[in-house]
Each structure stands twice: as structure tokens, then as C-alpha cells.
């Protein structure tokens, strides 16, 4: 089975003499008190990681849950206010709008990013000459800082007629489609979504590509011999075997979409008005602009519950349909 042979350790002779440890740590056997067990027990390997993880993630998250029920303002004393923050949230138009926006943005990004990522993966997995270069090109934006991508796209969305996307539309004779992409309240959220899809479609592509490379060629050959066409081979051979890649892709893009901050903050700062406000931008503003730390953590807790619920549902549903080759 998959287990470390723990018993072997203490019965066996310790390190051969004249062979110092390679790690440069002091030899425990010489420090006394440990002579009877000269080995590092297996569980000790996980202790440093667990300690850092506990300090940076576990403790603050638990404390955050606590703050969500207080009226703390960032300085001085604070009191326990029960569910008041959550009641405030239900009556807070900006916060409610941000919940709606976050869900719409996530849905748009998840659907389009994965659809585009899958098409790109099928394309660059085929036997075309430029595939290696194309893979690098499509993945490259995912490597660049989201804030910088947002600044670049602010130019693409430039409202001026001759520049950016509007300039291209004009040059193509499609001047009628010119828009104030980020300044129009009914478009701003979708413009942000398009920018996110552009940046991360290549990321989805790479994960689908890894899945495609695990599809055995013999299965395709067998299906071809049985008379299956391109679509049938995709539908009945490739697609079911892509399930693990799809699971990971959907989960990563959903979690990423729900937590989205940098792109919105840099491109629209939630505007115009509250048109592109997300849960992340609202909780940032409540905490660091308005000093409502208690309320802000309550918003964060709602975000955490959303992420947890959606991931669990996805995991249950998606894992169930996974098959192996």
C-alpha cells in the first residue's frame, strides 16, 4: 500500500559513519537525548509547512469569521453585534449589486474562457506546424500581471474613435459598433469579462491540452475503424476523457472569477457608478476606504461561503462523471 515503512526506521542502523548529513543541519544524534531514535519521524516532514500555513491562512481566516460579527473599525475597541453586518448587507444596494455582478461576471468568464480554451487546445493539439509557437502565444498573457493587463485593455477600450478597439472597428468599416466600452454602465462588466477571458483562455487551453495528451491514440483509431466521424470521435471518445481537465478548469475559473479583484480595481474601480462593483472591490473599499473592518469581513465571509458552496457542488457533480481510459 501507499505507506511509508515506519517500522524499518528505528530497527535499522543509523547513518553510516563518515557520511555526514547532506542538509547541513546539526546532527541530532550528537545533541544527546535523541540517541534512541536517531531518525526523523515521517510526520515531522509536514510540521514546518503546517506551521506556516496555520499562521498565514488558518488562524487569520478563523479570526476573520469572528470579526464578521463585530463592529470593529480598525482601531480601538469593538463590540459583538451578532448578525447586524449581514442584515446591513441585505439592505445595502451597492453590496447586493456587487453580489449580482460577481455571479454574472463569474458565469460569463467560466463559460467563455473554457469554451475558447477548449477550442484553442483542440487546435494546437492537432498536427499543425505552428502549434508550438501558438501554444506559447496563447498562454503568454496569463503570465503577465493582471493589473498591467488591465492598463493595456484600458487603451483597447479607449473611447476615442481612432484608437484601440474603436479604431480597429472604424478601419474595418464597422464604425457603427464603436462604444464607450468601460464608460457605459450596461457594458462595463462585460468588457471586464472579455479582458479576463483574453488573459486566461490560454491557461484553460494548457489544462485541456494536458488532458488531450492523455487520450490514447488507439481509441481514436478504433473509433475511426468503426466508422465514427470527427464529431462522433470528439463526443464519445475525447470529451468523456477530458472530464478531469474540465473539473480542474471549471473549478479554477470559478474560484478565480468569484475572487476577481485586480482587473476590476485597475480597469474600472467598480464604476461607472456601481456598474462593475464586485464582492472583492466592495470589501476592499469598506475596509480600507471607509474603515468598516467588521462589515468588510462579513462581506468576505459571504464570498467565502459562495466559493465553498460552488466548489463543493462542482466537485461532486464533475467527479461523478469522470472516467478513465
Amino acid at each position: 500500500m501507499n505507506s511509508l515503512p515506519e517500522t524499518a526506521a528505528s530497527d535499522l542502523p543509523a547513518r553510516a559513519p563518515g557520511k555526514p548529513a547532506t542538509t547541513g543541519e546539526p546532527d541530532r544524534t550528537r545533541r544527546g537525548g535523541r540517541r534512541h531514535d536517531p531518525t526523523v519521524p515521517p510526520w515531522a516532514f509536514v510540521v514546518p509547512a503546517l506551521a506556516v500555513y496555520a499562521v498565514v491562512v488558518l488562524y487569520p481566516s478563523l479570526a476573520g469569521v469572528g470579526y464578521a460579527f463585530t463592529d470593529w473599525s480598525g482601531i480601538g475597541d469593538f463590540g459583538f453585534v451578532g448578525l447586524d453586518n449581514f442584515r446591513t448587507l441585505l439592505g445595502d444596494d451597492r453590496a447586493l449589486r456587487s453580489v449580482g455582478n460577481t455571479l454574472l461576471l463569474t458565469l460569463a468568464v467560466v463559460v467563455v474562457q473554457n469554451a475558447v480554451g477548449l477550442l484553442l487546445a483542440l487546435g494546437v493539439n492537432a498536427n499543425i506546424r505552428s502549434r508550438a509557437l501558438l501554444r506559447v502565444i496563447f498562454f503568454a498573457p496569463a503570465v503577465v500581471s493582471p493589473v498591467m493587463v488591465a492598463f493595456l485593455w484600458k487603451y483597447v477600450y479607449n473611447p476615442d474613435d481612432g484608437a484601440g478597439l474603436n479604431g480597429v472597428l472604424g478601419a474595418l468599416g464597422l464604425g457603427g459598433l464603436r462604444q464607450d466600452w468601460l464608460g457605459n454602465p450596461s457594458l462595463a462588466l462585460w468588457s471586464v469579462a472579455a479582458m479576463v477571458v483574453w488573459q486566461y483562455a490560454g491557461y484553460s487551453m494548457v489544462i485541456f491540452l494536458a488532458g488531450l495528451q492523455g487520450v490514447p491514440a488507439e481509441l481514436h483509431e478504433a473509433a475511426t475503424i468503426d466508422g465514427a466521424g470527427t464529431w462522433q470521435r470528439f463526443r464519445y471518445v475525447t470529451w468523456p476523457l477530458l472530464a478531469p481537465a474540465l473539473t480542474i478548469n471549471l473549478m479554477l475559473s470559478t474560484i478565480g472569477g468569484l475572487k476577481l479583484f485586480d482587473q476590476v480595481y485597475a480597469a474600472t474601480n467598480g464604476g461607472p457608478g456601481t456598474a462593475s462593483e464586485t464582492l472583492s472591490t466592495v470589501l476592499y473599499k469598506e475596509a480600507f476606504v471607509f474603515g468598516k473592518f467588521g462589515y468588510s469581513t462579513a462581506v468576505a465571509l459571504v464570498l467565502a461561503l459562495f466559493v465553498a458552496a460552488v466548489s463543493l457542488i462542482q466537485l461532486r457533480y464533475l467527479r461523478a462523471r469522470e472516467v478513465t481510459a
Binding site: 505507506s3 511509508l4 515503512p5 526506521a9 535499522l12 547513518r15 547532506t22 536517531p38 531518525t39 526523523v40 515521517p42 510526520w43 515531522a44 516532514f45 509536514v46 514546518p48 509547512a49 503546517l50 506556516v52 500555513y53 491562512v57 488562524y59 470579526y67 484553442l120 487546435g123 494546437v124 492537432a126 498536427n127 499543425i128 501558438l134 501554444r135 496563447f138 498562454f139 503570465v143 500581471s145 493582471p146 493589473v147 498591467m148 492598463f151 493595456l152 487603451y155 483597447v156 481612432g162 484608437a163 484601440g164 480597429v168 478601419a171 494548457v206 489544462i207 491540452l209 495528451q213 481537465a245 475572487k259 479583484f261 485597475a266 472583492s280 476592499y284 468576505a300 467565502a304 466559493v307
Partner: protein
């Protein structure tokens, strides 16, 4: 030519067309960075003729990219080192103990991938402040190591589970203790996934904007994205200058990506099996 060949050529043309559309923002980035304000105003979409490199020098000095690059490099490198050491050793245990405590701890680590960091953001900010680590390298390194450990542990655990346990067992029978079996036998076998761990974490840490804005603002230890953010705010209307700054700021991470890109696909493939 056979119909299959025609179809391959057709697909190739289609993919190249997609790449051209996809590259439009990059075209704008590069051409504008090589134009002066008049060229940009007159013909924003035209190629930069004649090109100028003056923007790059100006952007380098006014965005103080030199110090920002040093800060980003130090923070990213030390965090990566800690992530590799803590992630691989932690996974060595979690990969082989698939029941009981080991399983519980593995789930606990996976929870960290799902939890939004915003939930712990304010308590952690208080904690870092109370030990006097705001505005320091060590505060950032601690943050990145902790926040990226779940993903790192996930990658390493998946990879180690796919390795036969026999190597480490043989080493233990030959008289190694677990530390020796790990450092001499297991860790060298982890090279491919370590490549993946390096690139994915480097991309995240190098590009992160929010935490350094919060923890390093005004300290003089600002990282590249924070430097670029305030630089863009200052020169917002001068696209040539701003875009030259963006090109310079993105280059280091793009170069690292080009060097290590083959590990990205391999690493994901390994992660899928785990």
C-alpha cells in the same frame, strides 16, 4: 494533396487568424511604446515609423523600475525557495499517508486553495503589523509562502503519489533515515514538478498587486506591479511612456516563462493524474 492534408492546412490558417486577433492588444502595446505623443495622436494604429526608444529610458527612471525589480526579485526568490522546501517535504508525508491524520491534513491544505484570502486579510494585516513586519521583505515572504503552500502541496502530492514508493523504501532498508531518503532519493526525482512549482508560483508572486499595495505602500520596498500602478496613475495620458513601462515590467517574467514553458504542460498533466 489528400483531403486530410487540406484540412490540416485549413486548421492551421484558422488558428493563425485567431492568434492575429488575439495579439491585437500586444501589437498596440509594442507599437505605442515606440511612438512619440504626436505619432500616437496622428495615427494610433499605424506601425511606429520611425520608431523611437526614448520612452523606455524615460519609463525606466520615472517608474523607478530598477529598485522595484530588485524588491520583486528578492521577495519572489526567497518565497520560491521556502515553498519548494516546505511544499515538497510536506507532500512527502501527505502523499504516502493516505488515511487518518495524513488524509485530514491533506484536506486541510486543499481548503486553502478554495478559501478566499480576503477572509483572513484583515486579521493577517493586524498580525503582520503587530510583529513590525509591514513594509519589510520578510512580511511579504511569509505571506506568499503561506498563501501558496496549498497549491504547492497539491502539485507535489499528486506527483509523489504517481512515483513508485519503492525507491524511498529501498533507501530506508539500506540504512537511510527519512531525511536522507528524502534529500538523496525522493527530492531529485521531483525535478519536473519543481519546475512547474517554480513557474506557477513565480507568476503569481511576481504579479500580485493587492498585497504589496497593502503591506509595502510607502515603504520604498514596492514591487514591480505597485511601482507600475503609481507610475501609470502619474502619466496616465502619455500612452507611449506608460506602455514602455509596461513592456519593461512584463519582460522578466515573460523571459522566465519562455525558459520554463515546457514544464507548464507537463506539470498540469501530472496534476491531472494525481
Amino acid at each position: 494533396m489528400s483531403p486530410a492534408k487540406y484540412r490540416t492546412y485549413g486548421l492551421e490558417l484558422l488558428m493563425i487568424a485567431a492568434a492575429v486577433v488575439f495579439l491585437f492588444p500586444v501589437y498596440a502595446l509594442i507599437t505605442l511604446s515606440m511612438k512619440n505623443p504626436r505619432q500616437i495622436a496622428d495615427s494610433p494604429l499605424a506601425p511606429p515609423l520611425p520608431p523611437t526608444l526614448a520612452n523606455f529610458g524615460d519609463a525606466w527612471s520615472s517608474a523607478s523600475l530598477g529598485p522595484a525589480l530588485v524588491n520583486s526579485t528578492v521577495i519572489t526568490a526567497v518565497s520560491l525557495l521556502l515553498l519548494i522546501v516546505l511544499g515538497s517535504t510536506g507532500a512527502y508525508y501527505l502523499a504516502r499517508r493516505v488515511r487518518g491524520l495524513g488524509y485530514g491534513l491533506y484536506i486541510l491544505f486543499l481548503l486553502g486553495i478554495v478559501l478566499p484570502f480576503q477572509l483572513g486579510m484583515i486579521p493577517l494585516y493586524k498580525l503582520v503589523d503587530s510583529v513590525g513586519w509591514l513594509g519589510t521583505y520578510q512580511g511579504m515572504v511569509l505571506f506568499y509562502t503561506g498563501i501558496q503552500l496549498p497549491f504547492t502541496v497539491f502539485l507535489y502530492t499528486g506527483f509523489i503519489r504517481a512515483l513508485p514508493p519503492d525507491y524511498a523504501q529501498a533507501a530506508l532498508i539500506d540504512g537511510c533515515d527519512h531525511r536522507q531518503a528524502f534529500t538523496r532519493i525522493v527530492f531529485p526525482l521531483l525535478r519536473p514538478i519543481t519546475g512547474t512549482v517554480i513557474i506557477l508560483n513565480a507568476v503569481f508572486i511576481w504579479n500580485d498587486f493587492f498585497t504589496p499595495l497593502l503591506y509595502l505602500g510607502g515603504s520604498g520596498k514596492e514591487t514591480v506591479p505597485v511601482g507600475v500602478f503609481s507610475f501609470v496613475g502619474q502619466y496616465v495620458s502619455d500612452y507611449g511612456l506608460v506602455f514602455a513601462g509596461l513592456v519593461l515590467a512584463a519582460l522578466p517574467i515573460l523571459l522566465v516563462f519562455l525558459l520554463l514553458q515546457r514544464y507548464v504542460i507537463k506539470g498540469f498533466a501530472g496534476g491531472l493524474k494525481g
